[in-house]
Amino acid sequence: MPSVDRSVLSFGQTSTYATEFVSALLEPARSTPPLICAPNGKAATRRYNIYRNNVTVSLINALAATFPATLRITGEAFFRAMARAHVRANPPTSPLLFEYGRDFPAFIERYEYAQSMPWLVDVARIERAWLDSYHSDDVPPLPPQALASIRSDELGGIVLVPHPATRIVFSRYPAVSVFVANRSHDPVGRIEATGAEAALVTRPVLDVAVHILPPGGFAFLDCLIKGETLGTAVAVAMGECPEFDLSVSIAGMLQAGAFTAIERGGMRE
């Protein structure tokens, strides 16, 4: 291991090549850094452009791989222009590319040319949630009958621990229907849904599944994910949505593998 002093010293001495080399990588208007050349001292603009191109195109491709439905909705040229603007403004800060694109939905929301498609940002959020679910930890979900053995007077006090793969996304538009239609390889027909839709994304075993939450389901699950008791979650959901049906919501969520454990009095069971 290098000692701390030496590390600081040699960093100071050798940092110029990296600083200079990256100075124009994401900025096409800047000229080729003078520290490099072609053999025999000749111009290296096209040679430097290989790196510029690799960086930008590979990161656009990474976004295209994470957001395929968004790409299908906007078309290739629109998507790549939008992704290029995002890559230049917000390049990744982690070498793990499956972590890249967390800011992309917010970028889409502000992107001038996407304003006519207000549901696009929600589709992108579902796609980002899908990838998080895909890479999340493998733990067994709570079985559907897990609550059957709990006394009814104790139910209100329990906490349902979300499964690591569980994500929820709320949309004022039918974003889940749009997502599902555009993630398949089939032709996209007319989307009949018109109202708000909330997505529940789960991966109980290997396959990521995206479900539409029933009325009040988003408020209910949002509370549970934040660690509130079942009783509080029911009260919040009923307050926000009079049609909230506890048994339908909870059965669907357990069936989808949304939880991994039950806690009572702070103890996991």
Binding site: T14, V22, A38, P92, D138
Partner: protein, 308 residues
């Protein structure tokens, strides 16, 4: 990726030990998830698989399930892409810990990284960026290799880059730089023959002279890959290390020349974009295996003077 019928075992599987599979004198291919079903149905394949470490640094899910399936049946080579060993700034300790975790979990036969860098300050550029060859960068890269090897408790194979340009400040050539790194750190080498060919064409040197000056006795793995042709500012040919097609004839020829020096050596056919059907990739591996097998039976193979 396709649906998998087998249920993953949960946490317990992390502690499970995989069988040992010999990798010497075998040919491998890049492992791509879209090939998993075809690979599992192909009992005739006797090669190894190489994966990019970063693709398996998520907590769980289908990538780990697929890799565990592959690892239980085949030898594995773990190829790091983003360690930024060739950069001036300190290594990312969290990334190094993830790398170490993968090695412990999957017990790969081979572990390699690049003579390149990809992160500067906090930005990850997702490309293998070049470095100048100076005494200062040599000391820095040697420290980084020491740090990686100390962390993972084993030596790594360091891959020579594909090069498109030179740094004015460089004071030594690439082979000199690599030789000094081997001497200082005890690391082994991953000789990417396509990269040698691409760099030689781009920088106007002889690939054979490069190989004659390269410390070939420290090679522990060979890479072969395809490249494409473009033009530079002067209209000269510029070869791009694209990994998107079959291995070029000239690279096959150099492979033959290298094997005459090294003897049979684990050899990977890399194919990372425009990925073909498994049968096409396997055919490329079979072609490499034929050349390897010829060197396994040729008297005098392993002669260190074969490249001169």
């Amino acid at each position: 990726m396709g649906r998998l019928a087998v249920q993953p075992e949960f946490r317990e599987s992390h502690a499970a030990r995989f069988p040992e599979h010999p990798i010497a004198a075998r040919v491998g291919t890049s492992f791509k998830h879209e090939h998993l079903t075809a690979i599992l149905a192909d009992s005739a394949y006797a090669g190894f698989f190489e994966v990019h470490a970063e693709n398996y640094m998520g907590a769980g899910g289908p990538p780990h399930h697929a890799l565990a399936r592959i690892r239980s049946d085949y030898p594995l080579s773990l190829h790091g892409v983003c360690m930024s060993i060739g950069g001036p700034q300190p290594l990312d300790r969290a990334h190094l810990a993830r790398f170490k975790g993968l090695i412990e979990r999957y017990e790969p036969s081979l572990v390699s990284e690049h003579l390149a860098w990809s992160t500067h300050d906090t930005t990850y550029f997702n490309d293998l960026l070049p470095l100048p060859y100076t005494e200062a960068s040599l000391a820095r890269v040697a420290d980084h290799i020491d740090e990686v090897q100390e962390a993972i408790g084993r030596s790594i194979l360091l891959e020579n880059p594909s090069t498109y340009l030179v740094f004015r400040e460089s004071t030594m050539c690439e082979t000199e730089f690599i030789r000094a790194l081997v001497k200082r750190t005890g690391c082994g080498l991953l000789l990417d023959i396509n990269n040698v060919f691409v760099s030689a064409a781009n920088l106007g040197f002889s690939a054979l002279e490069y190989l004659a000056d390269y410390p070939i006795q420290y090679v522990g793995e060979i890479h072969l890959a395809g490249h494409v042709e473009q033009q530079d500012d002067e209209g000269s040919v510029l070869l791009i290390d694209s990994h998107d097609g079959p291995v070029a004839d000239a690279v096959w020829k150099l492979f033959d020349v290298v094997l005459a020096s090294t003897g049979p050596m684990p050899t990977l056919v890399e194919w990372d974009s425009a990925i073909p059907a498994w049968a096409v990739l396997k055919a490329e591996a079979t072609a490499a295996q034929r050349i390897l097998d010829r060197h396994a039976t040729t008297p005098g193979s392993g002669n260190a003077n074969a490249i001169s």
